[in-house]
Amino acid sequence: MTQEQVATEKKIKPLVPFLKIPDKYPDEPAYLWGSKCKSCGTVYLGSRIACAKCASTGPFEEVRLSDEGEIYVFSVVHQTVPGLEAPYVAAIIDLAEGVAVRANVYGLDPLNPSPQWFGKKVKMYTEKIRVDREGNDVIAAKFKVVDGK
């Protein structure tokens, strides 16, 4: 592969900065990462300048976040911005590290929202959602319901 080819090669980019895409992706899966405040233990999505909880300016420890979590709450969005397919389940998902993620959840019937969904186990996966201006694939984190609960 020549230098020039490398320069124009398509890259894979995360939609949000707290989604990490390993060099060997998709052989190695993408994952969510966060920063843990060494003063008070609070975990945040992505990088931090200081701690919102205790105001410490660090240091922070980079932590890999769980791929699995559970639904805390949700809504089902029917009317949305142009370009998005509705209805979809917009949920707040609790991860084991004590941090929440906002994401769509698939594998549920959006037309029958139910209190049964509270606490449901979900698993993260990634999907190409669009191509950016430079021609790179943009990858987003989504969640799907884990069978069995």
Binding site: L15, V16, P17, L19, T42, L45, A52, K53, Y72, V73, F74, S75, V76, V77, H78, Q79, T80, V81, L84, P87, Y88, A90, A91, I92, D94, G98, V99, A100, V101, R102, A103, N104, P113, P115, F118, I129, A140, A141, K142, F143
Partner: protein
Amino acid sequence: MRDVAIVGANMIKFGRYPDKDLVQLASEAAIGALKDAGITMNEVQMVVSGNLYQANAMVGQRIMKEIGATGVPVVNVANACATGSTAFREAYLAVASGAYDIALAIGSEQMGKMGLLTGFGDRDPSYSSEGVMGTGLMPGVFGQTGVEHMRKYGTTAEQFAKIAVKNHKHSVHNPYAQYQVETPLEDVINARVIAWPNTLYMCCPTGDGAAAAVLMSAEKARQYTKQPVWVAASVLTSDPWTQRNPIMFDVNTLTRNAAEEAYEKAGIGPEDLSMVELHDCFATAELVHYENLMLCGEGEAGRLIDEGETYVGGRIPVNASGGLLSKGHPLGATGVANIVEVAWHLRGQAGGRQVEGAKVGLAHVIGLGSACTIHILKK
């Protein structure tokens, strides 16, 4: 800090004004408030303007160029949906501090057909906290707020719908509301879903609006009016760190913090209130704020609406104006308008929707991102 009274209070009918521009709408409200106070711009010593869509376009000064360019200090503020009430509070502080005796607060917005569908997510990368686009839109956020209450207390979709029934019923008597149409429970439930559990009639409409208030020191107020409306508390909070915030906007904690501070400052408890105008951008929001404002105990908000206690005529009337659900929600205008509404009730000028014998009222606004204001007003 000195006592401060509202001496002039005015708003225009909320709605769509495609043939007028923002400054015309705001000027109309401002001139109305000045006339109500019996003064002109020549007596005003400072101006605060709240506007969101033109937040960086010198709205306050442009209004003054239209109604009286006197050279006094003008501050333009923005605080999401709490923009107007933040403007009011800055004017309040300016008078309470002794720096000025007479201040004018103006809230205005010309939204046209733009609505609350857009979240803040796309404006700046640092503000993005979602895995996939479309999860942070306002209706979804306030849908989740209601669903959290369902999870905690078993609240039902029907109970949320009853909030909309009440507010649209109240609106029939409010000529300043964008919509003045009753919506029976069946209609609310069967309307199309915007973001579950909120249906169309459970979401505030978008439109244009403006409201203004003249604030004066006690001494000046006595000179200009026999019906001063006193600001017993003016509180602003932002959202503190909580477990899921800002991934999930926590509209509860900062409202509770503000309520506690306001009741303490005013020496007035929730049991003393004659009426409340609160931020019902969505029906789900109103219900959770019953508890946040301590109008009932934890988990009792569903019962409160079931038993009709928040209707005009009930134990504690909420949104006698019809609320944002009926009045509309021109962002920068809203916060001043709900203070004006409370002031009108305390003066006995609220016409067909008057809360009889109103002595103490609370005006609450919350803007995501977040800012919460609570103003307690008394006769």
